[in-house]
C-alpha cells in the first residue's frame, strides 16, 4: 500500500516536472521530447488506475500522432542560434511566473465555490489485456496511425529534402 502511494506521488511529481519542462524549455525539439515523456508517464498512471483503453488512446495520440505533427511543423522553423537560446533560457522564468499563481487561485476557487459535479455515471468496463485492446479492439486506429507516420515521412521528404 505504502509503496503504491509512494509510486503515485513519484509519478505525479515527474508528470508535473516533465510538463513544466515541456513548456519552459528553450528548444522546440526538446519540448516535443518532453511532451512524449509526459504522455508516457500519463499512460502509466492510467494503467495503474485500471483504465487501459484510455491509456492506449493517450499513448497513440500523444506519443504517436501529435509528435509526428509537431516534428514536421518544427522542421518548418529556423533553428535558434546559441545566443538566442541563452536569451530564451533567461526569460523563461519571468515569462511563466503567473502560472503557479493562477494555479493556486484556481485551486482555491474550486475549493471554495459550490461547484458540484456529482452526476452518477456508470463505471467504465475494464479490459486488462493491453494486447487485446490494441490488436482486437483498435486495429483500425493502428492502420490510421501507420498512415499518419507515413504522411509525416512524406512530408519531411517533400518539404525538406533538397
Amino acid at each position: 500500500m505504502t509503496i503504491n502511494i509512494i509510486l503515485n506521488i513519484i509519478l505525479g511529481v515527474t508528470l508535473v516536472l516533465a510538463a513544466a519542462w515541456t513548456v519552459m524549455t528553450a528548444r522546440l525539439l526538446r519540448s516535443v521530447i518532453g511532451l512524449a515523456i509526459t504522455s508516457v508517464i500519463l499512460t502509466i498512471i492510467m494503467f495503474r488506475l485500471n483504465s487501459p483503453l484510455a491509456a492506449v488512446f493517450e499513448l497513440s495520440v500523444c506519443a504517436g500522432l501529435i509528435s509526428a505533427i509537431f516534428i514536421s511543423c518544427i522542421s518548418l522553423t529556423q533553428r535558434l542560434t546559441d545566443e538566442q537560446a541563452a536569451e530564451k533560457q533567461k526569460e523563461r522564468f519571468s515569462k511563466f511566473w503567473l502560472l503557479p499563481v493562477i494555479l493556486v487561485l484556481a485551486g482555491v476557487a474550486l475549493y471554495q465555490l459550490p461547484i458540484t459535479l456529482d452526476f452518477h455515471l456508470p463505471a467504465a468496463p475494464t479490459e486488462t489485456d493491453v494486447r487485446n485492446i490494441i490488436w482486437n479492439l483498435r486495429h483500425l486506429d493502428l492502420v490510421g496511425q501507420i498512415v499518419i507516420l507515413l504522411a509525416g515521412a512524406f512530408g519531411v521528404v517533400a518539404l525538406f529534402k533538397d
Partner: protein
C-alpha cells in the same frame, strides 16, 4: 469489399516506395488513376448489393460499415481524387515532386475513405487527422511564404479542433467506457440533461465546424485554399474538408447527437451566417482562388442550414448538395488551375478575355458557375431547391428566404469572376495564352458532364437514387 478501399491505397504506397525509384515514379500516376477508377467501380458494385464478398475479411476485421451516405461520399472521393491526379499530372513539374504529391494524395484518400466508413469516435478522430496531416503538407507543398503561412494557419486552427474533439471523446469515454457511435449515441440520449455530456456534444461539433470551415470557424480556409498548389486546392476544396468536417457532422448529428432543438438552431444560424458572410466576402475578392474559397464557405453554409432543418428531405438535400458541391467546386478549382498555369496569375484584375483563348475552360467554368448559382436545369439548382423546399415545409421561412436571396449574390460574384477572367477585352500580356493541357481539360470535361447529366437526369434520379439515401436515418 470495404477493407480493400482502405488497404489497397496503403499497399500501393508501400509498393511504390520500394526500390526501382525511376520506374515507380512513372507508375505512380497510373496507379492513382487506377485506384480512383476502381473505387468508383467498387461503389457501383456495393450499391448493387455485393456486400458479402470480402476476400480480405478473414485477415482484417476492421469494423467498417457502409450505408447509402457512405456510398455517396465514396463516389465523390473517387471522382475528385481522379481529377486531382489528372490536374496534378499536368501542373506539378519534376518526377520527384510529382511522386511526392501522388503519395500524399493516396494518404489523403486513405484518410477520407476511412473517415466515411468507420463507426467509432476515436477512429474518426484518427482518420480526420490522417486527412489533415496530408492536407498540411499539400498546402505547404510549394514552400513559398504564402504556402507556409496558409499551412500554418490550418495547423493552428486544426490543432484547436483536435483538442476539442479529444476532450469530447474523453468525456464520452468517461461516461460509457466505449467510443463507438452506437454507445456514444445511447449515452447522449441517456444523459440528456447532463452538462458534461452537453459540453462534449458542443465542443465536438465545434471541432467539426472548424474542420469544415463554417463561419466563424473559417479563418484558416481562404489562406489555405489559395496558397495550396492548384491540384491540391481541387482536392481540399472539393472533398478533403467536406469529408472531415461536413460528412462527419452529418453522420454525428444523425446518429450520435440526439436530435435536439437548440443544436439544430445553432446549425441553422451558423449555416445562414456562413452563406451570407461567404457570399459577401467573395464579392470583394480580386484573387480568383480566394474568391472560390469564400464561395466554398457560402456553399457549405447551405449544407449546414439543411442539416439544421433536420427533416429527412432536408438531410437528403444536404447530402445531395454535398455531392454537387464537391463536383462543381472541384470544377471551378480545376478551371482556376488552368488559368493559373496558362497565364501565371490568379489576380482577376490582371486577367481578361481568356474565353476565346481557352474555350474548354470557359465553357466548363460557365457550367460550374451556373450550377453553383442554382440555375436550372443544372445539378446545383435541384439540391438548392430541395433545401429551400424542406426549409419552407418545416416553417423556417426566414432561412428559406435567405437561402434564395443568397443565390442571387452567388450569381453576382461568379458572374463577376466569369466576366473579369473570360469575357471582355484580352488583358495585356495574355496574347500567347493557349488552352490548358489535356489533363486539365479532360478533368474539367468529366466534371462538367457529371454536373449537367445529374441535373438533367434529376427527375428520374429523385425517386430511385435520392430518396433511398435517407434509409440510413432510422
Amino acid at each position: 469489399m470495404l477493407s480493400p478501399l482502405l488497404l489497397l491505397p496503403l499497399l500501393a504506397i508501400l509498393i511504390l516506395n520500394l526500390p526501382f525509384r525511376s520506374l515507380m515514379q512513372k507508375l505512380a500516376v497510373w496507379v492513382g488513376v487506377g485506384l480512383s477508377l476502381w473505387q468508383i467501380v467498387a461503389v457501383v458494385l456495393l450499391a448493387m448489393g455485393h456486400k458479402s464478398a470480402d476476400p480480405w475479411g478473414k485477415f482484417f476485421t476492421l469494423g467498417l460499415s457502409c450505408d447509402n451516405l457512405t456510398l455517396v461520399l465514396l463516389t465523390s472521393i473517387g471522382i475528385v481524387v481522379l481529377t486531382t491526379i489528372l490536374v496534378g499530372w499536368q501542373t506539378i513539374g519534376g518526377d520527384k515532386q510529382r511522386f511526392g504529391f501522388m503519395n500524399l494524395v493516396f494518404v489523403a484518400m486513405i484518410g477520407m475513405n476511412g473517415t466515411v466508413m468507420l463507426t467509432d469516435l476515436f477512429s474518426l478522430y484518427i482518420f480526420i487527422e490522417v486527412t489533415a496531416v496530408a492536407s498540411f503538407i499539400l498546402i505547404a507543398f510549394q514552400r513559398d511564404t504564402n504556402a507556409l503561412e496558409g499551412a500554418f494557419k490550418y495547423i493552428i486552427l486544426s490543432a484547436t479542433a483536435t483538442v476539442m474533439m479529444l476532450l469530447s471523446i474523453s468525456i464520452i469515454l468517461l461516461v460509457v467506457g466505449d467510443t463507438s457511435f452506437a454507445a456514444a449515441g445511447s449515452a447522449v440520449r441517456q444523459f440528456q440533461g447532463n452538462p458534461l455530456v452537453i459540453l462534449a456534444v458542443g465542443i465536438f461539433m465545434c471541432g467539426l465546424l472548424i474542420k469544415g470551415g463554417v463561419v466563424p470557424f473559417h479563418g484558416w480556409l481562404p489562406a489555405a485554399y489559395s496558397a495550396a498548389p492548384a491540384a491540391a486546392s481541387v482536392l481540399l476544396a472539393g472533398i478533403a474538408t467536406k469529408t472531415s468536417g461536413i460528412y462527419a457532422l452529418i453522420r454525428l448529428t444523425t446518429s450520435v447527437f440526439a436530435n435536439n432543438e437548440s443544436l439544430n438552431n445553432i446549425l441553422l444560424l451558423a449555416g445562414a451566417i456562413s452563406i451570407l458572410v461567404g457570399a459577401f466576402a467573395a464579392i470583394g475578392q480580386s484573387d480568383f482562388k480566394k474568391m472560390l474559397a469564400y464561395s466554398s464557405i457560402s456553399q457549405v453554409g447551405y449544407i449546414i442550414l439543411a442539416l439544421g432543418c433536420g427533416t429527412n428531405l432536408a438531410i437528403i438535400g444536404a447530402i445531395f448538395h454535398l455531392f454537387n458541391h464537391s463536383i462543381f467546386k472541384s470544377l471551378l478549382f480545376v478551371n482556376s488551375a488552368a488559368v493559373e498555369t496558362q497565364s501565371g496569375t490568379t489576380d482577376m484584375n490582371k486577367l481578361g478575355g481568356l474565353g476565346t483563348k481557352m474555350p474548354v475552360t470557359n465553357a466548363t467554368s460557365m457550367i460550374a458557375f451556373l450550377s453553383t448559382a442554382g440555375v436550372p436545369p443544372l445539378a446545383g439548382f435541384w439540391s438548392k431547391l430541395i433545401i429551400v423546399v424542406a426549409l419552407w415545409q418545416n416553417g423556417l421561412h426566414a432561412y428559406a428566404t435567405i437561402a434564395v436571396l443568397a443565390s442571387v449574390l452567388t450569381l453576382a460574384y461568379l458572374l463577376l469572376m466569369q466576366r473579369k477572367v473570360f469575357f471582355g477585352k484580352l488583358a495585356d500580356g495574355l496574347a500567347n495564352v493557349k488552352e490548358a493541357g489535356w489533363g486539365i481539360t479532360s478533368a474539367a470535361t468529366i466534371l462538367a458532364a457529371i454536373t449537367v447529366s445529374v441535373g438533367i437526369l434529376f427527375p428520374w434520379m429523385f425517386n430511385s437514387v435520392l430518396i433511398p439515401i435517407s434509409s440510413f436515418l432510422k
